[in-house]
């Protein structure tokens, strides 16, 4: 039986891969047993990837040139 408040507490550190082996096992067990939390875990995982992709904005070429021009005179 899944205790969802425990699961939620473990969710972020689980996503960041900073749990101890025992805690990670506990999180995995929770997720395997609880569809509600499992769907939320997948959503969080996707969201994090999406934030990374959505935030990516290529550097303007003009800025690249201006940065190169800042190099000290040789």
């Amino acid at each position: 039986m899944c205790d969802c408040s425990d699961c939620e507490k473990l969710l972020q550190p689980y996503l960041d891969r900073v749990l101890s082996v025992a805690e990670e096992l506990e999180a995995k067990e929770h997720l395997a047993a609880c569809d509600y939390c499992d769907r939320r875990y997948r959503f969080e995982e996707e969201l994090r990837m999406f934030v990374r992709q959505a935030a990516a904005e290529p550097m303007p070429q003009e800025l690249r040139e201006r940065l190169a021009a800042l190099r000290l005179a040789h």
């Binding site: 972020q12 969201l47 959505a54 550097m59 800025l63 000290l72």
Partner: protein
């Protein structure tokens, strides 16, 4: 007057010039990655470009203080975040908002309330747009946003983020957690309204 040996001096000068050129090339090669982070530390593209130029000018001037073999990307970001704080943008731009107290599941719960249950195979971009993310991110108060941007967009470790911002690792973790919650609360507002 001390006797100098022109050949040794010439060799030393040449070696130093070589080190400097290598440093500059390495720093420029990282500029795309630095810009990715800079772009979201401040509110606009123009500010990000100004900040990048200031940071690179300072980095090139103080290249000798970089220790070869250590993390150059983190070193550059440290210069950039310090400049950002020095310029007082933090004070000017921090929105006057009370961070919403929301749980980790706040966003997904909210989306389900309005659009029905999230299916197993459903992708996040079916519910949220890129504009939603960018707008929500810029509405997160700076102290929290800096950490979220460094870790979630810049892919820095907690330790690197702590060094860059000169705060303890525990503070990075708590701000990250809070910052992500605020981001999700903002996204819920953006996406659901």
């Amino acid at each position: 007057m001390s006797e100098t040996r022109p050949e040794t001096d010439a060799r030393r000068i040449a070696a130093e010039a070589r080190d400097r050129v290598r440093f500059e090339e390495d720093a420029l090669a990282l500029s795309d990655q630095v810009y990715r982070v800079a772009r979201h530390l401040v509110g606009s593209r123009e500010e990000a470009e100004d900040l990048m130029q200031e940071a690179y000018a300072r980095a090139f001037r103080s290249w000798r203080s970089f220790t070869p073999g250590t993390n150059l990307r983190a070193w550059l970001l440290r210069i950039l975040t310090n400049l950002n704080i020095d310029r007082g943008r933090r004070l000017q731009r921090t929105p006057d908002m009370q961070p919403l107290e929301a749980g980790d599941y706040y966003l997904v719960d909210k989306l389900e309330e309005t659009g029905g249950p999230i299916a197993h195979e459903e992708r996040v971009d079916q519910r949220l747009s890129q504009d939603n993310i960018v707008a929500a991110l810029s509405a997160v108060p700076h102290d929290f946003r800096d950490v979220v941007v460094l870790v979630d967009i810049g892919d820095f470790t907690y330790q690197d983020a702590a060094q860059i911002l000169d705060i303890p690792v525990g503070t990075v973790m708590s701000r990250l957690h809070r910052g992500r919650r605020i981001l999700k609360a903002q996204l819920a507002e953006e996406a659901v309204v």
